[in-house]
Symmetry: C2
Subunit: 429 residues, 2 copies
Amino acid sequence: MRYFINDLSKYVGEQVELKGWVYNSRASKKIKFLQLRDGTGTLQCIFFKGECDESAFEKFNDLTQETSLKVTGVVREQPNKPGVFELGASNFEVIGSSVDYPITPKEHGIDFLMNHRHLWLRSKKQHAAIKVRAKLVTAIRDFFDGRGFTLTDAPIFTPNACEGTTDLFETKYFDEKAYLSQSGQLYMEATSAAFGKSYCFGPTFRAEKSKTRRHLIEFWMVEPEVAFNDIYDNMDLAEQFVEYIIQRTLKECPDELKTLERDITKLSVIKAPFPRIHYKEAVEIIKKENSDFVDGEDFGGADETILSSKHEKPVFIHHFPAAIKAFYMKEDEENPKYSMSCDLLATEGYGEIIGGGQREDSLEKLLSKINEHELSPDDFSWYTDLRKYGGHPSAGFGLGLERTVAWVCGLSHVRETIPFPRMYGRQYP
Amino acid sequence: MRYFINDLSKYVGEQVELKGWVYNSRASKKIKFLQLRDGTGTLQCIFFKGECDESAFEKFNDLTQETSLKVTGVVREQPNKPGVFELGASNFEVIGSSVDYPITPKEHGIDFLMNHRHLWLRSKKQHAAIKVRAKLVTAIRDFFDGRGFTLTDAPIFTPNACEGTTDLFETKYFDEKAYLSQSGQLYMEATSAAFGKSYCFGPTFRAEKSKTRRHLIEFWMVEPEVAFNDIYDNMDLAEQFVEYIIQRTLKECPDELKTLERDITKLSVIKAPFPRIHYKEAVEIIKKENSDFVDGEDFGGADETILSSKHEKPVFIHHFPAAIKAFYMKEDEENPKYSMSCDLLATEGYGEIIGGGQREDSLEKLLSKINEHELSPDDFSWYTDLRKYGGHPSAGFGLGLERTVAWVCGLSHVRETIPFPRMYGRQYP
């Protein structure tokens, strides 16, 4: 029988054996305190002279930071802290020593910490951020699974580029070339025609030679697609989805968000509906504060911040110029200069977390877009098939997991939102 | 308000509008039957002369296979089939036509079907297999999330090989090289030291130039790891896990398994504990039927079948020779020729679905193994750090999703277990 710290409330008064690592320790003549970390929580273990094994008292000084050990004792509630438990420890046994553990309570530079990511994950805030990430993943999957969506994993190896070729990672695929997927979106159109509502959730890749606080080379994206949905259905779905994952994480990760010192009042207001702004209107708002902005172009990070700072909820920007969107985005029939696209900007300057829209359902227009973008129609013949055999409106979106984790955790950089970040110039550890 | 076929029991007697595709149709003078498919189910829609719109009767012949359309009518229970619903249809409107849909009820060759995978997914058995896959994924995640494991995604880009370099996909990672991950296992040792119990679940890659019914180039693997577990804890965990995912899928996918004509009596017996056989004992069993087998070598598919055919439950084979296992596998201290490894063979000849074991926790032995395997100690210095700072026993395993789906669905080839399979010579669609 293995005991874990987050489970000890069931074993009050019982003798248990715990396995973990030294998080901290302090000692006086008559009493020694060990903060034991086992990955599920930390526990105060108290060795009282006379009450514990004598040898435990003698060898207590061997317990350097991150030494692994086995501790035995009796579980008890802390006298003045109902619901908080401690161990009346009787003895311990060292499993693995730890000499000069590199991450000490003093300040370390970010490069040092990133080089020690495999150990840095044991630190409180890093641990909390990855716990929030895991909870967000569960919430994301539960949202879609609970609403009749079918998970249909998209392939990573693709023979062609769907969002332009500059940022692609290429690999030799036997006698051909293959590119690493930037999006499962095209594939989700095929699967939503088979399953009605589908989603994929996996790693995607962009070979961006830029070091910004919002970019990773390798990041996870969830991409739902619904057959027969239009852009407005899509925004309805996206706002219900974002409300659900935020509110559930707030409810289920209070300790982690406290550790991260997150101001949760900023998150508790994230409830549908969200404001919706046409690109044209967004341009007017931006121009008042950034006179350099050129109508028709995509927003920079600062422009996104101008837009999101006006609201306490995330903001949809819709109908971006067709020229700056992917080939598969449907034209606005009332004004073909614009597309049926919609992005969602998070609050507090965290930027775009969702990109999506309605897909071009006209075979003719799609073929001419493929041409315009200088893509090979043969590569996409399976995709155009979807218009030939029972074509239909279709809409969906992609939510970037790491940016969402950064937003929820209040982290200034995405590098702390994934266990082992891959960035320009970094693929270690 | 959007209605879906799998949800119609709530709307008996109500007028609804459904969107979907023509699955089948037949007509007589006074009555026309449409089988409507919307991805969540199929529904019989009945047009009665005199009761439906006259135009519906006239244009009914336009409804070729996979035409997309909108159908209106009233939901009713089928007279002699309680729990089965149909639509008393009043009218329909075509959304997208479908001329010469390539997949007809007649037999097609496998290459043709694979080239039309984007459409083949709409067929009943393919649809059912992917539904089972999605349910297995949910069951896998629920098992680990419900037992205190933390999801810690492993990176896809890795600077080095963990299982040997021959089967690796290589890509240019800016000025360096990167390889696509074959396993997240090493990373899970770091995260289980931070979280106690961790798992990753993502795509992994093997550049195998072989076309077999058990191999994909790109496949999904779930890899749990538990700090302080040994090989026996690991087998306990693996058998509880396999029981859970099989029994839950049996319970929640009865219709899909029926569509797939799966003999579920073969699955309902999959309950822990599973038989456990030492490699030495397995060799004796194999040699009786395959005199060519050489003691010390790995099993071939036929050898696995010999072993699994003796049991109605999956079988663990443990303590494989160290020489045929990865560098990180712990030596058996009683006989260093063997390793603390354990694989699980599925029943009915479906082969190995789990590989795992206990990790080498001695820094000295690990360094000498890294040397023996001609790997660079620098590349693995983060990994050896885990032994320097509070090292400990650790064990885990990897379960291949696609082989498990094939087993549960009773499919003879893994190519039908993933929406868009990647195999030697195939990356389309």
